[in-house]
Subunit: 342 residues, 2 copies
Amino acid sequence: MNLKELARKLDLSPTTVSRALNGYPEVNEETRARVAAAARRYNYAPNSRAIRLATGKAMAIGHVIPIAARHEIVNPVFADFIAGAGETYSRSGYDMVLTVVPDMDEERVYRELKARGTVDGIILHAPRLQDARLALLTEIGFPFVVHGRVTEATLPYSWVDVNNRRAFLRATEFLLDLGHRRIGLINGLEFMDFAFRRRSGFEQALAARGLTPDPALMASDEMTETAGYRAASRMLGLAAPPTALLVSSMISAIGARRAIQDRGLTLGRDVSVIIHDDELSYLRNGEAVPIYTATRSSVREAGRLAAQMLLDIIADPASAPQQRLLEAELIIGQSTGPAPQA
Amino acid sequence: MNLKELARKLDLSPTTVSRALNGYPEVNEETRARVAAAARRYNYAPNSRAIRLATGKAMAIGHVIPIAARHEIVNPVFADFIAGAGETYSRSGYDMVLTVVPDMDEERVYRELKARGTVDGIILHAPRLQDARLALLTEIGFPFVVHGRVTEATLPYSWVDVNNRRAFLRATEFLLDLGHRRIGLINGLEFMDFAFRRRSGFEQALAARGLTPDPALMASDEMTETAGYRAASRMLGLAAPPTALLVSSMISAIGARRAIQDRGLTLGRDVSVIIHDDELSYLRNGEAVPIYTATRSSVREAGRLAAQMLLDIIADPASAPQQRLLEAELIIGQSTGPAPQA
DNA sequence: TGTTTTGTCCAAAGCGGTTTGAAAATGATT
DNA sequence: AATCATTTTCAAACCGCTTTGGACAAAACA
């Protein structure tokens, strides 16, 4: 069933039927009702391919998921971020187009997405401290919103981010207040912008108390269970091991926990741990009482907000870039306690 | 830059240019070369919206991600499955369209996807023991491939699945051979087809040794850390606790491990654990030596295969339904050992 | 030499909508 | 009753490609 057929059945022109369904004013309310009824009756839904060609809009947003060539790791927060973004898109009749790309190919993919008109805008994932994609997307004229920030950007751009620096600053202060002095940081890869900011919050908190960070107590790697285990193991094996760990993700923390237990230590008593919790739906941080003390911020909510921001920008391309900084809450769980006496 | 413009620059008709670029034989090799050169030079890529309308194909595959209304849980294997499928799609010039849907709305969404012609086929995720979506998709005439199976299906359909029953059968036998007699099963929700099959493998192995499964040693819930913890805690607190656990996912196992340690028990000595490992990229089961003894099967590979199967079916709609059963390997890690003497 | 065949190219008709510009029908005004 | 304004409807152009059904020239054949 297409527009022409439906029009024929109604003894109306396609023009009128189209306008009736799209709420244009120049159509008699009575006929509009007739049209609506017939559309429902014949189960008519306008062909999206035709709409897209006619309007010149793709009604779709692109999410490019870069796969690190070396490790083949899919960022575990994607699933929830995308679930959030997807909610927003459904409400607005947009589709979400996912493209999985080996990370060297990203530029080609963006250019093609634009040239072929497959999507109207882009959500930029996993930004780096300096990120060539910002200039690229601006150059090719794609509306886009970054999930995260790009510290070394020169031009304004739209983003949704968590206040990573402040979250880690507060977490560090919390540990310092508990008497911890040797605090280990198990961070993500520090060419990633969020990881860089987290370290800077950590260092700033130490500096404020006149402490200098010990390079041996800082690790930067993929945020996997294995990497978390490795980093924690190494630190706990030092002559002067840390009494507390600041861990960049729930998943690394699982590894860190394993390392702690392998050494016969007890989490929250011998070693305190604070994590950053993205509220991944399949890795909830406990139920009533959180397992881990954590800085918490919902990545799904970030997805909703970023998607909405992008749709707003597409609706009004002349608007100035928008920003949204989310604050993480510091929630107290069972993984932290006062520093053990030396 | 569009086809007409490019044709004008070349002093050719759009017809010829189109044919030259699409490899049709009725065009002089010399002009084909000219066209190709010009296309590259002017950075021409055909508008995908126009192609789609003209050919009547969407060149896109739909993945509908149902969100359980209660728990808002995104299946953690999605990310990797989709990464695999995405690889296949890119190679074939297909897009991947993701739709996030509250699970009651699925039917409406499939019908709309079809009526609007947004996608050419569907990958069906998370099938149930009996699943109305099979009949629905068949009725509306969508080519589709199921990731998993539908035990109570009446008609043939295409699927890619792991031999869950045999995997859990073998895992159980392995534990029995180690002398374990009280084995707990921490399973996914058993209206899900894979979970049902896993339990049946478990029970079959017990039955083969004349053992009857103890209902107190079987749990069925979401495969989250929390649920894994809860189930393991409960079982270990029984008067006659299990000496081994069969756990349906890496994530539940993390919870189970926490429960084991909370009770002061040691994994692999006091309590053996075998998991099913989907090889999630951010939750690798150790490196050289696996942490957990596991039945292992790559969900990413399943994604690749399912996507390819669907593309094949779309290319040849008359073909018979295809099936692909993957065997899981049983890999030995550090989480299992002989049953402790009572 | 005239007729076929083959190799190249093109005009025009879709695909299924939206949108512009004009026509027809109705109502209001004189 | 004639004129003008307002509603309501429609025909046709357009979006940017693919594809059908020739057209035309050169080569092959009779």
